[in-house]
Amino acid sequence: MKRWILIALAVAFSLFLPFIFKDDYYRYLFVMMGINIILVSSLDILVGYTGSISMAHAAFWGVGAYGSALLAIHYHVGLIGGLFVSIFVSMIFGILIGYPSLRLKGHYFVIVTFIFGIIIEILLRNLVQITRGPMGLPGIPPARLEIPGLLKIVFSSTLSYYYLVLVFVFIILILKVRLIHSKMGRALISIREDEILAESVGVNTAFYKVLTFAISSSFAGIAGTLYSHFISFIGPETFSFFKSFELFVMNLVGGKATLVGPILGSCALILLEEWAKIFSPAIARVVYGIILILFIIYMPLGIAGLISKLKTKVMGKRGHEIT
């Protein structure tokens, strides 16, 4: 019951947020937070629940972004068509990287995902005929939702885009909760905890690992479509390894294997990055870095971990939940 009240409050808050902060700059930040929440939540399914650390998440995001951006520019494909394509393309790339995960363990796998991310970035940079290389893709039209004869919405203002992204954030979060509490979710957790024991009771770990990569990367693809239509210009440097790393840090700071962790992590880091800009650019990065290090040392379980720890202290409750 208390849980539902909290959820209702959070939903209401997110609905009214752009009217509390009416400045377009803040609304822009909120949209970016939403896109990052989708990215980090989908990464969390891999990193937090399945325990396979992927450093290629920004690459899946980029593939999705480029896919739907190219379609929108050249063929005037709307939002729904763009989403289908980005989901499909990102999923293919997810399976491509998921497959080696069956043979490689631990650090070796992280290195492979890392290299995979770099390869994608190099491709985006060098396939000049398609992606225009380092010049990037300008002039991506705003997202257009069209059902012939029924409705036609063009999400051109930041406010309307905020609600579009919010809908997708809710969809992804609901899907994530459902997934984690299903048979598959328990299988994923068992892979993280002890892969050999999981297999010994009949969990087909190979199947679930590849499937998780497919799901996680297709969610990143959705974020890619949303991003490209919003920002209207995309270039390869956005989807570099640094972004993958940043997403990983967001997950870590927010709290792994939780629902709220990725939400808190993405919001906190985006705000932190903005606030750090008060300092001169050279110092800003250093301040940002130092705060991150402090976070990781003093909150190994992230913000979500801190909250549940405080709750335990206040209520004196034992045990924990794997939500």
């Binding site: 459902r178 957790i189 969990v203």
Partner: protein
């Protein structure tokens, strides 16, 4: 009926011959003890029978079907479940969650169930199964505990409980009572007897001779990768080769 039949199994690690032409069979409903000095190849045998390792030569039949070369998890699907020499549990999850994962094969998946959640009956069925296992193993009052905080003996019982979730037809236990005190051992062996009563066939590796000799219906002794004796416990304790290589001259049946 022969539930499990092993024919001339051979496994080499480099030049070291861990198993050489080991053959035996396990009858349905049996409680088989597998003993022998450390390094005799007992665990290697388990690893091959469950598909964790591939055999160099030889075949394994389960229910008269050739299962040599199947993948590890496929053995679980067929009902061959094992525990491990070094305790393996899902250590950061609660006892209940551990057993829920153990029941993986009993649960139904699919896109519809994942998106909409499984039906009330299926949920109730799973809870019922988990509850049954918790009561059976005596872990009921610890179900909310994080499993790494359990005492050692309880962790081993939990490992058994996870295995039971998979509805084993053949249950392979690798040194389940090692490190337990006599009363814990007795409790564990009582559980084993009850599991046998549920038409599950068991194979146990252990060094606890009284536990093996008093409980098993048949004992196989291994040494240096070879089977050196097979028979009823009373025959084994009289066997000259076994006394020389493993039991020692002073062994008397406890």
């Amino acid at each position: 009926m022969k539930l499990l039949e092993i024919i001339e199994l051979t496994k080499k690690f480099g030049g070291f011959c861990a198993l050489s032409k080991v053959s035996f069979s396990v009858e349905s409903g049996e409680l088989l003890g597998l003993v022998g000095p450390n390094g005799a190849g007992k665990t290697t045998l388990f690893n091959i029978v469950t598909g964790l390792y591939k055999a160099d030569e030889g075949k394994v039949f389960f229910k008269e079907q050739d299962i040599t070369g199947l993948k590890f998890h496929q053995h679980g699907v067929r009902g061959i479940i094992r525990t491990f020499q070094l305790t393996r549990i899902f250590s950061s999850l609660t006892v209940q969650e551990n057993i829920e994962i153990g029941c993986h094969l009993q649960q139904k998946g699919g896109i519809k169930r994942t998106l909409l959640g499984c039906s009330r009956e299926e949920r109730a069925q799973l809870e019922e199964n988990v509850k049954g296992i918790l009561t059976f193993t005596g872990l009921m009052n610890k179900k909310k505990m994080i499993s790494k905080h359990l005492a050692f003996g309880e962790q081993r019982v939990l490992e058994l409980a996870i295995a039971l979730g998979a509805n084993p037809i053949l249950l392979l236990l690798d040194e389940p009572v090692a490190g337990m005190n006599p009363s814990e051992t007795k409790r564990f062996m009582d559980l084993v007897h009850q599991i046998r009563g549920r038409e599950t066939t068991l194979v146990i590796i252990d060094h606890d001779m009284p536990a093996i000799m008093n409980n098993c219906s048949k004992v196989i002794v291994m040494d240096h990768g070879e089977k050196i004796a097979e028979g009823k416990p009373s025959e084994i304790v009289e066997n000259r080769t076994v006394i020389e290589s493993y039991l020692g001259k002073g062994y008397r049946r406890a």
